[in-house]
């Protein structure tokens, strides 16, 4: 059986940690295809990792195995888990990182069968010793129920939702990408519910933006605007420039949107 495994970590690409995990996987399941989502999650930033998984996993084929390690509690009593959904498998620590897997039906298993780990697992590198071998065995067709016991209390991480107050949507920046574009947690659905026929006005910090456009190119060069981006969310940008740097903004920054 040939299967796809994605990898998402905060390991970076300078150390050989990711390569080692791949060596372990291919030693157990040689026909696996491995895809990196990113290894540049900020150190121990579990919610950023969760957000990246949530945005990326819908674009992978059915039954893809998503291996994710952002794991400040490695070696402690935090549980290693595998989640089975109708669409995919998720393998990683039980700290909320895999939360996106929970929309809809999901079965969660605590990994307890040592025979599916490397021998004598270390206390500091479960990516290598626990999660990589488990993902490989999944790729080989081993069932989650063979590797663990079912649990019903996994740690859940709720991503922040926007609120509607006084005809204004109160949301926040949840992600800044490589181009400095700022994704908010206000979706096109949120927007549709509030439409008044008047043009939307967005505020972030002390700035007021009125350029609600269809595509980056509809905004004059160097000017700020907002649009519905490829995640169907409101995104703030500066045409041909870096909004994050210009606005000195970080994820968490408050964004309001109203129709006035």
């Amino acid at each position: 059986m040939s299967r796809l495994i994605t990898l998402t970590t905060d390991f970076g690409l300078t150390d050989p940690f990711v390569g080692i995990m791949k060596g372990v996987i291919l030693g157990i399941a040689p026909k696996t295809t491995l895809i990196d989502l990113t290894h540049h999650i900020e150190t121990q930033n579990i919610s950023q990792g969760a957000m990246v998984l949530a945005s990326a996993t819908p674009y992978f084929p059915k039954k893809t195995i998503h291996l994710a390690v952002v794991d400040p509690g490695v070696g402690t009593t935090r549980r290693p888990i595998v989640i089975e959904t109708p669409d995919a498998y998720f393998v990683g620590p039980d700290n909320g990182l895999l939360t996106p897997a929970f929309s809809g039906k999901a079965r969660v298993y605590e990994l307890i069968r040592l025979k599916y780990f490397l021998k004598s697992p270390s206390n500091t590198f479960h990516g290598r010793d626990v999660f990589a071998p488990v993902a490989a065995h999944l790729a080989n067709g081993v069932k989650p129920s063979q590797m663990g016991k079912k649990i019903d209390d996994p740690v859940r991480l709720d991503l922040p939702r926007p609120e509607l107050k006084d005809a204004t949507l109160h949301g926040q920046v949840i992600y800044a990408d490589n181009f400095g574009n700022l994704t908010t947690n206000i979706s096109d659905q949120d927007l549709k519910r509030c439409l008044t026929g008047k043009p939307p006005v967005l505020r972030i910090g002390r700035r007021t933006l009125k350029q609600f456009v269809r595509t980056y190119g509809d905004c004059p060069k160097g000017k700020a605007g907002f649009l519905i981006n490829s995640w169907n969310a409101i995104e703030i940008f500066v045409r041909d420039d870096n909004a994050q740097q210009l606005f000195k903004t970080q994820p968490g920054a408050v964004v309001t949107l109203r129709f006035s």
Copy 2:
């Protein structure tokens, strides 16, 4: 059919964008082998992307599909295209990025068949919604002519050529690599045409270099020299050090070479 697809973008590796494109490709063409050329093209630097493609693609097997996205015009009327040459396919935006594909015979198609895109393409991420699926369908054997209509006016980007004036070659730095070595647009062919029997003297900024050597090791440690590099071009270096940093030089810097 098993095929090779390379990826070149300015997306960086921090966001999951590249991984998502690979998920889309493997969902459509599961047996594809994917190779990253680089995802660190400077933001929106089309000519740097074109140069990287030109230097790398000759080293790939025949019929390799090269997918490239440096796309400031995403979502506007700039056309998505596929280019077919006797050696390879190129997929990306029609903004000059794919120019290297044009040496020799090439057929260019504007991508117009929506059935080969993801459903409801976004206005901000054609890498995912247009170019990745088209590259995957190419890998599956779909012909470019099935996916688009032939055009004969693609945007062309001419890389700068050196000039010969008063027995002196006037060129420029076109690329600075990870080691700080500076590739110029003066080729070994340009050089041969100017040989006089006298030793060549290179000027860059206020520096005059006379160490024209065969290999880095032929220059004393810490000294600057120049040689014919692996692209058959004049390259300026400092032995065991970083010429770009020491010279404070960027691509575009003027370089002259004469035989005196």
Copy 3:
């Protein structure tokens, strides 16, 4: 024959050099699976490259081919070599980089058969012109003895070993990882030989650490401690923080350990 090739270089991921090497390999051996160990070895830091190879290669399947290029002497008389051990193959320059391959039995060959290189190899990019094609031919089943002649004087690089003096182990930091954790050259075996029943005390710079713990989580947040890490070596860390930055420490820093 399907085979695994790993790649380790100081090329970085901004230039297309690594992708080009992969294109060359797949042109010769299309069924090869390629895994990056890291391309962020510090420029020309041969001993760091050697350490990374030593830590990573034990986790790969038998007969894996490890291709490594940290090669300040490219184009000079330094020899290109391939090493055959009972477990793996190593391909790269003869400058000590491949030293880890020498534990136990190994046969070393100087690569002298030009037919296994690209035509007209450059003097600056043997990764592309020599090492990539040789690794690919190995993957295709060509024997090292067909590609080179046996030698018995390869350059060896000895990694520093700790010393025991006055009941104190004198070692050093040999690696700082992405998290700022500091791996020392003091192994759990070194430690066991010195056990006295008294608690160990570690000194680094002007700091004295007494928190010898099992796992990161056993140390209070923000406090420094040490443990046996996943390489079975003493590692210094700061819980949920970056010891390298806080201690302003680099590989080479002296570490002492005694039982008092």
